[in-house]
Amino acid sequence: MSSDWNWRQQRDKSAYLALEDGTVLRGYSFGASTDRVGEVIFNTGMAGYQEILTDPSYAGQLVTMTYPEIGNTGINQEDRESRRLFLNGFITHSQNRASNWRSDQSLSDCLVAADVPAIAGIDTRALTTRLRDKGSLKGYLCASGALAEAEGIAAAREWEGLDGQDYASRVTCDDAYTWDEDGSLTRSWGITEDLPEADLSIVAIDFGIKWNILRSMRRSGINVHVVPATTSADDILKHNPDGIFLSNGPADPDAVTYAIDTVSHLIGKKPIMGICLGHQILGLACGGKRFRLKFGHHGCNHPVKDLATDRVEITSQNHNFAIDADSLDLSKVEITHINLNDQTVEGIRHRNEPMFGVQYHPESSPGPHDPFYLFDRFRAMIENA
């Protein structure tokens, strides 16, 4: 029988999560022995923690998984969504050793290697209920056990938070690159075995881009040249791309002023598609305003209605900000998709120019593949341009 049970450590609860409202939840550390502040949010997806850990959009956040048994499938090389982990910390009820034929690392080892703190032994439902009622809260995750609780609370309160913060520039790539020239990253397990000829090429602005967006583009026969977030419109157009893609990314779209500016110069010049932060930037570039959702949308089960077809798609979502429907000039921009849970804007399209954006994640990963058609729609838009 294995003897590496850590029951005593679990009982000692030497790690804690302190919230700005003064709440302290004690648990045990299963990641890096370090402390981190961040915005505490919850994600309701039951699987897909590896994709969440490696999604750059979670930069600045302490992510709580509402599903209690986490780590079950370990970590594998194929399901990564970026080059590294970006979130500030990870919060779960329980953590498990892996059992999956594709797993080559345990969740815990992965977190330690990435220097990301993680806490388990938390009543994540109580935490989620608190976040639902109070809205996202700033938190201090103390996995080192070195800081007194009161100081942890103070640290959480002192942190500047994510509002008005440009995190895109922190997570974007350092240098431009072309995605997956030999196809090996796209041709991964469960995605596809055969790749079509890539007959189109686009530029993607990386605000924290997820690899499955890149894989999805490539699967749709589109080559992608990825450029850093701050790349100018001129530099982008120099590539003479068939289309331009604005990626997802962390934090507040209002703070990415340079990108809003860049994008407003690109609309009308080339077909544009935006996802998540990219979609918000499109909205702002078209004159709209963003607002903060109480506790955001983070999960894999959000119903979105395509207003053109009346079809409902189940979508993967991860955002704290949304475009205010009332702020949009509807003579210029059309709302194409809405969230059926809270009626917020999920998709927009320019009435005169080839441009659309969706708030949710058609590339899924994690989440359902229902909205994959949007990549084909982008392709068709390019072909018709």
Binding site: M1, A47, E69, D123, G190, G299, V312
Partner: protein
């Protein structure tokens, strides 16, 4: 698009009696559908032969037909009711098959009835193996290599094409995999294929590459007519491929798939639903995954609501059947709101923040000769579900919910037998899937076997095994506290033990103390569970549905109201002797109390039931029915009282302890209930009240038993005290038999005495249900059993009103019943069993609680007895409720039992004092004989109206046989008989064809069965041992061949009466329950 306006009247078919593979889940789905459709203004015509269902309560449909589920009868109902549409997807395989039959026979077209939900073509595509395979190949799904065969010769050819054993054999169009199996060698192969070909209505079997040991998953998918699809729940089977999913321990959500793997399965499941063409409703899609490389193959899809969808509904809070009904009449998912959150639509995918475990409950103890190896043919009779924050909690709760005297994953002193097992046996038993295997994994871990070792033997995923290994190891951690005092001082350890799902009973065992002590220590340490909410959304939205489970954590979400509230303790998992009838009573109690403005708190652990529908009661607690779990809820809610008399033996077993812990038991007091079970008290009461009782005695040793039996005189009825459903009850004819019984069947002791009763041969048995308010009592019904005393009342057919009781006997029955109700201070229901010989009435047993027959009686007399009983328990008087005198309806009602014999080849089907039936049906008609025939038809014992009757009757049954046989001759049946019966008939001037007994050579009865030249078998069991073995073989063959078989002369007599009445009409009339009840009123 809103609901359809071109249809108004919808016919719904229920699933009939509870059988293995089709249980309460279809009552649950049917009730939801009836409610949903009527809410939308549709007229509902419901047909179901099972009186114990809530759906057949007259208020759930506009017209309710309790009639046999046959195409003939359904055709008559369609002709009479002219529905616009037929919804066949909510009544299990039974309804689906009938839907196809009605479509194929042209009845639906003739009467212009549209099949909604799924049409015949869709059903066929999903159910016909070849069509299904073709469809799956078309959309690129991977399948196990397989071929179908229609003959044994074809099957042999196919076998060579597939390769080595083992091979899986699945018959087409059968429910729960009846007749299927796994062939490990040629002999198995021949046997299973032959059986499968027979069972399949299309004479088809599928022979398949083995994927035994692969991981098994199920997805519950819903689709609307606008092609919106959502997955409600994923389920992972802990038991890998090879065990029927109904017999598997299953866990929701899936635990060992990455998102990418899960989404592949989701995409594929939706593609399957689209390709099969289920326009609207729910479907279940089953997948197998090769644990080594992730290869995913489709197993099957059910284009209907299923047992798994009931589980998925209870696991997530998403009401699949209700939504399916609404989708069938034209709504789209986004037009329906999620009842739980109210603000969000039904077009979403539930996400949960807990782990759900379902564990099947088996009844092999009832069928000693049956093979208890689990395979692709379902064998379990019920299931329990538990919700915990973690898998460990969930598993331990589910195991104690089973009510098999286990209080979690071992550590309860119940595993002594496993300790004795040598390693070789343990290895073999881990390899062989069986009901005890889950507990054997613990024994393996105790012996230091590794997760890898156990995985190699069981193929259970290491993820689950690691949790079990950890639990096994953790026992020592608890024990390391040294004593309860030690544990009390180490609060974090104490709390952790509770978080790991350990019950107080287990902790008490590990620390050698009592459950009560642990409970007290826990209260001292401030460790109490919290109650979490089942809300479909992992707390993302505020939820309004009060559906709770216990766990250990920060704060409780169940905030008690300050209303007056009563707890109703349910019946737990279905088992033989305790099933849907008790759930029916609990549901009625809830309905009645809610109407009376009392808050109802339902506690139950059975996911199939209506009682665990979240809108049946004001609050639902999905919890194990143990003292610890029930007390937590009672105290948390600060209930004003608890009802224990409706949920069968489960709550009764808890009653005394609950009372000792301050629970106010409403209605008849536990003392009275216990007293009635106490033989001594009972005898004293009988004497005091001047009530005749069969001579009897109580033995605590074999010697004493012999002494008593000799005093009473043989034959005697013997049984252990305090048992359910007549376990180990027997009729003993002589000294030798008695000695054998005392040594083999029971272990008599001071604590567990054996009861011995005079066996009244030839007496008519009578059941009485009575309602009492403490002052007045009213008889619900006097039921006369068709079979003689000595057959368990649950297995016996019975009728209302009685046919053969004298007025004097009935008067005595009433007197006795009333005086006992008064003496026992009954407040609520009481059931009495009598044996009647002429005018002499003997009381056999009194149970001051709801009985199995309450729903049947309620339907027969048109009075909801359980509802009235619940109200009486809250202080109302029968006179206030307007129930003051016994109702004797003009129509006749017959209840017949339904048995699982076809699931257990080779076992004897003879009825004994040991209850074996899983369910019941009801036949109603103006004519008693027709009512009986209907009950037989409904039970699947379709008596032929012409053909050959085979008679082989024991000597004691021969007197009087000639009159019945003469009637058969007049009805132009051919008569065949074995030597003794032949001789007897001849002596009475009746010619019959003599057939050889099995021991006499060929052609014998079995040969005739095999050559299909017998249409009806009448065989009463003989006393001789060899003869008995032959007969068992013959009866078992008849069951497997589907030939109607009658095993008592009284059953034969009742049937012949019916056939005579049916006469030349040869068709049975149908009439709705509402019409029958109206006639009673007027």
């Amino acid at each position: 698009m809103p609901k359809r306006s071109d249809i108004h009247k919808i016919m719904l078919i229920g699933s009939g009696p509870i059988v293995i593979g089709q249980a309460c889940e279809f009552d649950y789905s049917g009730v939801q559908a009836c409610k949903a459709l009527r809410e939308e203004g549709f007229e509902v015509v419901l047909v179901n032969s099972n009186p114990a269902t809530i759906m057949t309560d007259p208020e759930f449909a506009d017209r309710t037909y309790i009639e046999p589920l046959t195409t003939e009868i359904l055709t008559r109902i369609i002709k009479r009711e002219r529905p616009d549409a037929l919804l066949p997807t909510l009544g299990g395989q039974t309804a689906l098959n009938l839907g196809i039959a009605l479509s194929d026979s042209g009845v639906l077209a003739k009467y212009n009835v549209e099949m909604i939900g799924a049409n015949a073509e869709v059903i066929r595509k999903a159910e016909d193996r070849d069509l299904f395979k073709k469809a799956m190949k078309k959309i690129g799904m991977d399948l196990p290599l397989s071929f179908s065969a229609h003959t044994i010769e074809q099957a042999r050819e196919v076998r060579l094409k597939i390769g080595p054993f083992p091979l899986i054999i699945r018959p087409g169009f059968t429910l729960g995999g009846t007749g299927g199996g796994i062939a490990y060698d040629e002999k198995d192969f021949e046997e299973i294929v032959t059986r499968g070909l027979f069972y399949s209505p299309t004479n088809e079997v599928l022979i398949e590459e083995s994927i035994l040991g692969w991981k098994e998953f199920e997805l519950e998918v819903m689709r609307d007519h606008a092609d919106n699809c959502v997955v409600i729940c994923s389920i992972e089977n802990l038991d890998p491929m090879g065990v029927h999913t109904g017999d598997s321990i299953t866990v929701a959500p899936a635990q060992t798939l990455t998102d990418r793997e899960y989404q592949r399965m989701r995409d594929a499941s939706i593609a399957v639903m689209r390709e099969i063409g289920v326009d609207t409703g729910g479907s279940n899609v089953q997948w197998a995954i090769n644990p080594d490389d992730g290869r995913m193959v489709i197993i099957e899809m059910n284009p209907r609501v299923s047992r798994s969808s009931a589980l998925a509904s209870k696991a997530t809070g998403f009401p699949i059947a209700k939504i399916a009904a609404k989708l069938a009449v034209g709504y789209t998912l986004d037009e329906i709101s999620n009842d739980i959150t109210k603000e969000t639509p039904a077009s979403f995918e539930p996400t949960i923040d807990y782990v759900v475990t379902k564990i099947p409950r088996f009844a092999f103890e009832k069928f000693a000769a049956a093979d208890d190896t689990l395979n692709t043919q379902m064998k379990s009779v019920g299931e329990a579900m538990a919700i915990g924050r973690t898998f460990k909690q969930s598993l331990q709760k589910a195991l104690r919910s089973l009510e098999i005297n286990h209080y979690g994953y071992g550590a309860d002193g119940r595993d002594a037998a496993f300790k004795e097992m040598d390693d070789e046996t343990l290895t073999a038993e881990l390899v062989r899937p069986n009901a005890a295997r889950i507990f054997l994994t613990r024994e393996a871990f105790r012996r230091g076997w590794s997760v890898e070792d156990v995985h190699d033997l069981t193929n259970i995923d290491p993820w689950f095994l690691r949790h079990m290994e950890e639990l096994t190891a953790y026992e020592d951690e608890i024990a390391s506290a040294g004593s309860l005092d030690g544990l009390r001082r180490d609060v974090p350890l104490f709390r952790q033990a509770k978080e790991f799902g350990y019950s107080d009973r287990q902790i008490a065992y590990l620390l050698q103390t009592s459950e009560g002590e642990v409970r007290a220590a826990r209260a001292d340490a401030g460790i109490t569970p919290i109650f979490g909410l089942v809300d479909t959304c992992a707390a993302e939205f505020k939820a309004f549905t009060p559906y709770f489970y216990s766990t250990y954590g920060e704060s409780s979400e169940a905030v008690p109201s300050d209303r007056r509230k009563i707890m109703i303790i349910g019946g737990g998992p279905n088992r033989i002797g305790q099933g849907i009838e008790f759930d029916y009573c609990c549901v009625h109690a809830s309905f009645a109390l809610r109407e009376a403005n009392i808050e109802t708190i339902m506690v139950n652990s059975n996911p199939e039931t209506v009682s665990t529908d979240y809108d049946t009661s004001d609050r639902l607690y999905f919890e194990p029915l143990t003292l610890e779990d029930v007390l937590h809820i009672y105290r948390h809610e600060k209930c004003d009282g608890a009802i224990v008399q409706f949920g069968g033996q489960t709550p009764l077993n808890l009653a005394k302890d609950l009372e000792l812990n301050g629970v106010n038991i409403v209605g008849t007091k536990p003392d009275s209930i216990e007293a009635a079970e106490d033989r001594k008290f009972f005898q004293e009461m009988a004497q005091r009240l001047n009530i005749r009782q069969p001579r009897n005695g109580i033995a605590v040793s074999a010697e004493e038993a012999v002494e008593i039996a000799e005093r009473i005189g043989y034959p005697v009825l013997v049984r252990p005290s305090f048992v359910l459903g007549g376990r180990a009850m027997a009729i003993v004819y002589d000294h030798e038999m008695l000695t054998r019984y005392m040594t083999d069947a029971v272990e008599a002791s001071e604590d567990r005495p054996v009861l011995i009763d005079q066996y009244l041969e030839g007496a008519v048995e009578v059941d009485v249900d009575c309602l009492s308010d403490g002052t007045d009592s009213v008889i619900g019904a006097i039921m006369e059993h068709v079979e003689l005393a000595g057959i368990h009342s649950g297995d016996s057919a019975c009728m209302i009103p009685p046919a053969n009781l004298s007025a004097e006997a009935e008067a005595t029955i009433r007197d006795y019943t009333f005086s006992m109700a008064r003496d026992l201070n009954v407040c609520g229901l009481m059931n009495v069993q009598y044996a009647v010989k002429g005018n002499d009435v003997y009381v056999i047993e009194v149970n001051p609680r709801a009985s199995r027959t309450v729903p049947f009686v309620s339907k027969a007399i048109g009075v909801p007895l359980a509802k009235l009983a619940a109200l009486v328990m809250t202080g109302q008087k029968l006179s206030d409720l307007g129930f003051t005198s016994q109702i004797v309806p003009a129509h006749h009602s017959v209840k017949e039992a339904v048995f699982p014999f076809n699931r257990f080849p080779g076992i004897d089907i003879i009825l004994t004092p040991e209850m074996k039936s899983t369910g019941e049906v009801m036949g109603i008609d103006a004519q008693p004989g027709i009512a009986f025939l209907k009950s037989q038809a409904a039970a699947g014992n379709m008596l032929p109206t012409s053909g050959n009757v085979f008679l082989s009757v024991r000597d004691s049954d021969k007197p009087g046989l000639e009159t019945v046989v003469r009637s058969l001759q007049e009805l132009r049946y051919g008569i065949q008989s074995t030597s003794g019966t032949h001789k007897y008939l001849k002596e009475h001037g009746i010619e019959s064809t003599r057939v050889m007994k099995i021991s006499e050579g060929h052609p014998n009865a079995i040969d005739l069965i095999e050559s299909a030249s017998l249409d009806w078998i009448v065989n009463t069991p003989s006393e001789g041992a060899t003869q008995r073995q032959d007969e068992i073989k013959m009866r078992s063959h008849a069951v497997l061949r589907g030939i109607p078989i009658t095993t008592t002369v009284h059953g034969l007599r009742a049937a012949v009466n019916g056939l005579v009445t049916l006469g030349s009409a040869s068709q049975m009339d149908v009439c709705s329950l509402q019409e029958y009840h109206e006639a009673i009123g007027s």
